[in-house]
């Protein structure tokens, strides 16, 4: 096995963003980290996904400003227990913060984690691993 060959993790990440560059780059990064990656460029495309992913990473603002949250809610309904990370540039642009661990916000933000764009890949990776670990140990 050469060093270029990716380790396999047997986990599929659903990556949803309306920015094709973001999708391409993060698909490459996640694949190199050993994940299988399914991408979707919109809420609708993401909803057409048939197989249950192991974790989903959703952009917040796509066609509508809250598509990420809407999709998160719907995916959680369809795939109960699916860990979801929402990524957004809204905090760096407006200062608006989301904290899905607070009880008030849990009421309407059904994601497990909200990360601010620009995201560091290492941070995304460790969040994904943390959430996957949490589901496995359940």
């Amino acid at each position: 096995m050469t060093s270029m060959e990716a380790p396999t993790r047997n986990a599929t990440v659903l990556l949803v963003d309306d920015d094709d560059d973001f999708l391409f780059q993060h698909k490459a990064l996640l694949e190199r980290a050993g994940f299988s990656v399914t991408t979707a460029g919109s809420l609708r495309e993401a909803e057409a996904t048939e197989e249950r992913p192991d974790v989903a990473v959703l952009d917040l603002m796509m066609e509508n400003a809250d598509d990420g949250f809407v999709l998160s809610y719907r995916l959680k309904k369809r795939f109960p227990g699916l860990p979801i990370i929402v990524v957004t540039a809204v905090t760096s642009e407006t200062g608006m913060m989301f904290d899905p661990t607070s009880p008030q916000e849990r009421a309407w933000v059904s994601a497990d984690k909200v990360l601010s764009k620009p995201i560091r890949f290492e941070q995304l990776l460790s969040e994904i691993e943390r959430l996957l670990g949490a589901t496995e140990s359940r």
């Binding site: 309306d18 094709d20 973001f22 391409f24 780059q25 490459a28 190199r32 919109s42 796509m62 066609e63």
Partner: protein, 386 residues
């Protein structure tokens, strides 16, 4: 009804009482409607110190200030208020206004003078004038604040628009560096194309921005020459042909053999290039773009019609705002600076013209630019020439 705070400072109890009575019963219209009436809450002070204390507690909108007060004089009060940057419209009450007093008080920011003794009517006139001044000043301040806000928003959005392509390019460099891009030449080719597209987009944004700034500042050098609008349109269509061809979109020019106009070539190119490239970008595959050029009633008419996704009425309303790009699932892959239509509109305005939009969601859009042609000065005809 809005209540304005009036502070009357005079050492004569009779004056304080009289002014309070007159103003308590007074309302002033500041606009066209009855809702724009204002009334007055009157406070009084009998010397300079009390006046400063009262101002300290709450700044009055209007200050009626006697010049001659025991200890701290009216002018001294005014001076202190100016130093403290108290924002109020001041009317000086004077029994004997020497020229020196008037000059000094005016320098200190007094707005008006009311000579003692005054009748209730004279007081009302002075207060109405002060209210009017106050309203104008508030309005001016509001406009200045709005302007600041707009500028701030523009810069925030601009920052975002410039950072986005940089982030994309950095992302690609990163995956090349750490090996995530693999070794497939096709993947490399894709990455290179994307990097070029994003840097190209950034360059276009900067060009558009400079262009827009030049037009707005009125410093743009204009070179008005006799040119043929048909010819400029034909070149613009040629420029868009490659992008159109890739997606099976047909481009058609409908114009008389020549449409002469006195215009700046670069400006006309701006209009035509922006409209035609939009019509291609936002079209459906295998659609068509029709460009109509015509001269009518002292104006050149440029219309660009597409068979694209069209817009809803609320989207049309936002279309000409800077950096507005209507987001939808179908336009997400379309690149653009969000400044093109702003430029088209501003250029059209340079000619005293305008842009109109006719859109039906799902059917397509027609943008029409009407550029009034200056009426040529009548050429004097000498009698012997005939």
């Amino acid at each position: 009804m809005e209540m304005l705070r009036v502070l009357i400072v005079d050492d004569e109890p009779g004056i304080r009482l009289a002014v309070s009575r007159v103003l308590n019963g007074l309302t002033v219209l500041t606009g066209e409607t009855l809702e724009s009436r204002v009334g007055f809450n009157v406070e009084t002070a009998e010397n300079g110190k009390e006046a400063l204390d009262a101002v300290e507690r709450a700044e009055p909108d209007i200050l009626l200030l006697d010049v001659k007060l025991p200890e701290v004089s009216g002018t001294d009060v005014l001076r202190q208020l100016t130093e403290r940057r108290v924002d109020t419209v001041t009317v000086m009450i004077t029994a004997y206004a020497t020229l020196d007093t008037v000059i000094e008080a005016t320098k200190l920011g007094a707005y008006d003078f009311l000579p003692k003794p005054f009748t209730p009517d004279e007081l009302r006139v002075a207060v109405r004038r002060a209210v009017k001044h106050l309203m104008v000043r508030r309005q001016a301040r509001r406009l200045a604040e709005e302007k600041r806000q707009v500028r701030f928003q523009f810069i925030s959005v601009l920052g975002h628009e410039l950072k986005a392509p940089l982030a994309a390019v950095e992302g690609y460099l990163q995956i090349l560096k750490d090996g995530s891009a693999g070794s497939d030449p096709k993947v490399f080719a894709h990455i290179i194309d994307r990097v070029l597209a994003r840097t190209g987009g950034m360059r276009k944004l900067i060009d558009d921005l400079l262009n827009l700034t030049r037009i707005e500042s009125g410093r743009k050098k204009r070179d008005l020459v006799d040119l043929d609008v048909r010819e400029v349109a034909a070149i613009a269509i040629e420029d868009a042909a490659a992008a159109a061809h890739d997606r099976g979109i047909e481009l058609h020019l409908h114009a008389p053999p020549s449409v002469p106009m006195l215009a700046d070539r670069g400006e006309l190119e701006n209009i035509l290039n922006n409209l035609i490239s939009n019509a291609v970008k936002y079209n459906r595959d295998d659609g068509r773009v029709d460009v109509f050029i015509g001269a009518e009633d002292g104006a050149v008419r440029i219309a660009v019609k597409d068979t694209g996704i069209g817009l809803a009425p609320d989207e049309v309303a936002r279309l000409f705002q800077e950096f507005v790009r209507i987001k939808s699932e179908r336009t997400r892959a379309v690149s653009g600076t969000g400044l093109g239509l702003s430029i088209v509109k501003k250029v059209a305005q340079l000619y005293g013209g305008d842009v109109t939009v006719d859109s039906q969601a799902g059917v397509g859009i027609t943008f029409t630019v009407l550029l009034p042609v200056p009426v040529p000065a009548p050429v004097p005809v000498a009698a012997e020439d005939r």
